[in-house]
């Protein structure tokens, strides 16, 4: 398994763990008022699972197992795959921080983090498609 796939998959596992811990916290807030602030993490929970865990696992496994791009460059542009990894994780981490902080402090500077997060995650998605599309080749 190439290094970038290992990073995608291990990062995905970390997000999965974080999502499960957050799920416990989201339930526990009803019994422990001190945890009420976790209600602002609800959208973060869904994105930890769908972007951090599932999408990232898909990206890592597809980079590893999809048909080869060419004999010389079997996995196509490796640098592009690393860029996708950095953009996706930076975007997600900015969201994890910025979204609850903005909800707790409306109208504050935290919105900058969300703007950056939206742009970085969108770029990650677009560049992943750019990287993987040429490797989708028909072979019965």
């Amino acid at each position: 398994m190439p290094a970038i796939s290992r990073w995608f998959i291990k990062a995905g596992l970390v997000y999965f763990l974080a999502a499960m811990l957050l799920a416990i916290g989201l339930k526990a807030q009803f019994s422990f008022p001190v945890l009420r602030f976790l209600a602002f993490f609800n959208p973060v929970y869904y994105h930890l699972l769908t972007v951090g865990w599932i999408t990232q696992i898909i990206m890592g496994v597809s980079h590893w197992m999809f048909p080869r791009f060419s004999r010389e460059k079997p996995r196509g542009n490796e640098a592009l795959a690393w860029l996708v990894f950095v953009l996706l994780n930076a975007g997600l981490l900015l969201r994890i921080t910025g979204e609850p902080m903005l909800a707790l402090n409306p109208g504050s500077i935290w919105n900058t983090l969300l703007i950056l997060s939206a742009i970085l995650q969108w770029l990650a998605g677009a560049l992943y498609i750019r990287a993987i599309w040429p490797r989708l080749k028909e072979k019965p």
Binding site: L102, I115, A118, W122, E138, P140
Partner: protein, 136 residues
């Protein structure tokens, strides 16, 4: 990669592009509110990313990678998988646009039923292929 996997995975990537774009716009609008109507895109964003991107991609990869049935027709009949592709994508759009369109016809229910039919058809296809490699 077989032709039907190509269709499923390329379609999934298109949904990833649209779903991430909608999600990006909704997140930008959360940071700097500029168009309140963008919130109405949330069900479409969820539908496109969960069903259109993730589920459809997994089906495409599974059709390609599950153990083969034999040399003559290694992946069995194509018919249930074509049915899956048609029902799943029709269901995604019907369920997705249901929040925008006022119709006497229950669009979301129809969409969910088509998605359910897609899953049943895929299970019909995949069930016999879930077995040890080399068997048969």
């Amino acid at each position: 990669m077989p032709f039907l996997s190509l269709i499923l995975i390329r379609t999934a990537l298109l949904y990833l592009a649209i779903g991430f774009t909608l999600g990006g716009l909704i997140l930008l609008n959360k940071a700097v509110p500029f168009q309140p109507a963008l919130w109405r895109l949330l069900p479409l964003h969820v539908e496109f990313t969960l069903v259109g991107w993730i589920i459809q991609f997994v089906m495409g990869a599974a059709y390609w990678m599950l153990p083969r049935l034999g040399q003559y027709r290694p992946r069995g009949s194509d018919v249930p998988v074509w049915g899956t592709i048609i029902c799943l994508n029709a269901g995604i759009w019907l369920a997705g646009i249901a929040t925008f369109v006022s119709s006497p016809f229950p669009l979301e229910m129809a969409g969910r039923m088509l998605e359910f039919a897609a899953i049943v058809l895929f299970a019909v296809h995949a069930w016999p292929r879930v077995r040890p490699f080399g068997e048969g």
